[in-house]
């Protein structure tokens, strides 16, 4: 048996629906159709009345989620693509994110954002928006990189008493498989050492974890041992684990698929530089997508985002500093 990242997301939702009567799913085409990516396949049939097709009204979808959460429900909102969350933006960052701070009433909603680039998807179906949401207070921003995390973190997201922005990576949906669903899991808020090493710390998250692991593999042949840290959650960001790794390696390369300005990589470097300056044997470096919209054509797309190829170059450069 094997299970994909996408199936894990479906299974987590099935379990959440089964175990918690407060859970419901609301989103475009999530009902009988099972969602644009089939992340809710058969759930409407298995849980009648609890998987609801919404009109194309992202603002109202999120507003409704907040109202339901106030009243004790645990809504999961599927946005068809992360890119469309811009039209739900206000309800997320101003309504959901401020509710608890203003009133002490928790706002447990899970917003599923299918994001990240895939070939041929272009500027409006490829965005990685984790940094935008992480900038706002009051949100938890999760970026699972593995099948296991997709499953366990989604379950945890539903249980968390705050609005969770769940950034699932579309590229991993079908590409990534595991043997089975996990039976135990690291808690949200803890980063994972995806591979140990002593020469350089490669901090990343989501789909880029796999590029990073490939680089570590490749550079191992050249005699370098790269430590790969999978952040898992970009807010909260597990500075301790990152710092401990940099303490071991002395070198930091932060990699993200999002745009550079103010992205996860800037935040990671700023934290390490201010709090762990003495640990660094070389300037911390970062690699991000290029500062343009995400291109449509595969030729361009392959160069726009970091890849094992470009990460390896950056890592080699850093190892020589």
């Amino acid at each position: 048996m094997s299970i994909t990242y996408l199936e894990a997301i479906r299974e987590a939702q099935a379990r959440a629906l089964a175990e918690d009567p407060r859970v419901f799913i609301y989103g475009q085409d999530v009902g009988a159709f099972g969602g644009a990516f089939k992340a809710t396949k058969n759930l409407a049939q298995e849980f009648p009345g609890r998987v609801i097709d919404s009109p194309i009204s992202e603002d109202a979808m999120l507003g409704l989620a907040v109202g339901a959460a106030i009243s004790g429900m645990r809504p999961i909102i599927e946005l068809q693509f992360a890119d469309f969350s811009t039209v739900a933006f206000n309800q997320i960052v101003n309504q959901a994110a401020t509710l608890h701070w203003r009133t002490r009433v928790p706002c447990p909603i899970t917003v599923r954002l299918p994001g990240g680039g895939t070939s041929g998807s272009g500027p409006f179906h490829s965005q990685s928006l984790e940094a935008v949401y992480a900038h706002y207070p009051g949100l938890v921003v999760l970026t699972p990189a593995t099948v296991e995390d997709a499953y366990s973190m989604l379950l945890e997201a539903v249980a968390i008493d705050d609005p969770v922005i769940f950034c699932e990576h579309k590229y991993l949906y079908y590409h990534l498989k595991a043997e089975a669903l996990p039976t135990e899991a690291m808690p949200v808020g803890k980063a994972r050492i995806a591979r140990t090493g002593r020469d350089l710390t490669l901090v990343t998250y989501s789909a880029m974890v796999h590029e990073a692991l490939a680089v570590a593999e490749e550079l191992a042949l050249e005699g370098f041992e790269l430590e790969v840290v999978d952040l898992r959650s970009v807010k909260p960001l597990d500075t301790d684990t990152v710092m401990a790794s940099v303490a071991r390696t002395g070198r930091l390369l932060a990699v993200g698929e999002a745009w550079p300005w103010g992205g996860v990589t800037a935040e990671v470097i700023a934290r390490v530089a201010s709090e762990g300056f003495g640990l660094l044997d070389a300037p911390p470096q970062r690699l991000n997508a290029k500062d343009t919209p995400v291109p449509y054509h595969p030729n361009l797309w392959a160069v726009h985002r970091p890849t094992a190829h470009s990460i390896a170059i950056a890592a080699r450069n850093l190892l020589q500093l």
Partner: protein, 344 residues
């Protein structure tokens, strides 16, 4: 003599109508006195930030608050002091929020009109116009899931806010889900300084109702009796499963947008038109005309309200503001997920 001709049931009904009218008037009066007090505190520089009043909109607002009952949900807007009070908000909550008391529902974190008790059905507005309506939908959907029967949600909104995308999405959403939502639009002829001619091009805002497939009702917002009956009817319809309802009231904002605004842009012809009547005065005249109150009674009610408000203000003025050094500065309910960092 006329009374003697009525049978006991009719007498009961008349007295119920009178009781409701009087009750409504008293909330309107309380709201007006409270608003006047804010205005004077504002002029004295005792309020942080802006002050937004409901002068001229009390009849409509109170009708909403009274038509709702415990278990319902209410999303008032900036001009709904009357409706809030009728729905059960205390004067203390209101004053505490305006004065930023640490003991208020918002603990000084938020202020003025941004207050509420979400779990008691009183939603604390965010400023972004239109954004609260879909939140009401969510509460109503939750009630449906939870099989809490026959609750209604009311959302108040201004003419200007009907131009927001949020308004549109939420109304359509309620219609598609057939939620018991009552949207109450106070067309007070202006959005800040912007007249309705620059805001919409339909004849009356009620013409929007059909486009959502919801029932629409129009009412003279200066007439308390009309407001009570039309809003009451709409709420009743929603409660009985007839789907979402839209009420459009015509009236005039009898104050500035906020107390910083002298509203010099208001067309004098509007002020002298029937729209420009003060609903409180109209209700007083009606009370007198019907013999439901006399001048002395009105005066004593007013002093009762003044006392209530003065007492609350006096109390709150002695209360502490929030202490920044005892704040936890944590936006999350899940404290274990909060980041405690030196960078801020």
């Amino acid at each position: 003599m006329a009374q003697a001709l009525l049978n006991p049931e009719t007498v009961d009904k008349v007295s119920a109508i009178r009781d409701e009218y009087v009750k409504a008037y008293r909330y309107m009066l309380l709201a007006r006195v409270l608003d006047d007090k804010y205005a004077s505190l504002y002029r004295m520089g005792k309020i942080h930030g802006g002050v937004f009043l409901g002068r001229g909109q009390e009849a409509l607002s109170v009708a909403v608050g009274l038509a709702l009952r415990k278990g319902d949900v209410f999303a008032p807007l900036i001009r709904d002091a009357a409706g809030r009070l009728a729905f059960g908000e205390t004067v203390l909550d209101a004053v505490r929020t305006y004065l930023g008391s640490a003991l208020g529902p918002m603990r000084g974190r938020d202020g003025n009109v941004h207050r509420g008790h979400p779990q008691a059905g009183l939603l604390p507005m965010i400023s972004h116009l239109g954004a609260m309506i879909s939140v009401v939908n969510g509460v109503l959907l939750a009630h449906r899931f939870q099989k809490v029967g026959q609750t209604v949600g009311a959302a108040c909104i201004g003419d200007g806010a009907t131009s927001t995308g949020a308004f549109h999405e939420a109304l359509n959403q309620a219609a598609v889900e057939r939620l018991p939502l009552v949207v109450v639009i106070a067309n007070n002829q202006y959005a800040y300084s912007t007249p309705t001619s620059r805001q919409f091009a339909c004849r009356s805002l009620v013409e929007k109702a059909a486009g959502y497939g919801m029932a629409g009702h129009e009412v003279d917002g200066t007439d308390l009796g009309a407001c009570l009956s039309v809003v009451g009817h709409a709420v009743q319809q929603a409660r009985s499963g007839a789907g979402p309802q839209m009420v459009v009231a015509e009236l005039l904002r009898l104050c500035g947008h906020g107390e910083h605004d002298d509203a010099g842009y208001v067309d004098p012809r509007l002020k002298s038109s029937p729209l420009g009547r003060d609903c409180l005065k109209v209700a007083e005249a009606e009370l007198l005309r019907r013999g439901w109150a006399d001048a002395a009674g009105l005066a004593s009610w007013r002093s009762e309200m003044v006392q209530l408000v003065e007492a609350a203000v006096a109390q709150v003025q002695r209360e502490p503001g929030p202490d920044p050094y005892r704040e936890d500065w944590c936006a999350l309910a899940s404290r274990h997920l909060a980041e405690g960092h030196t960078y801020s």
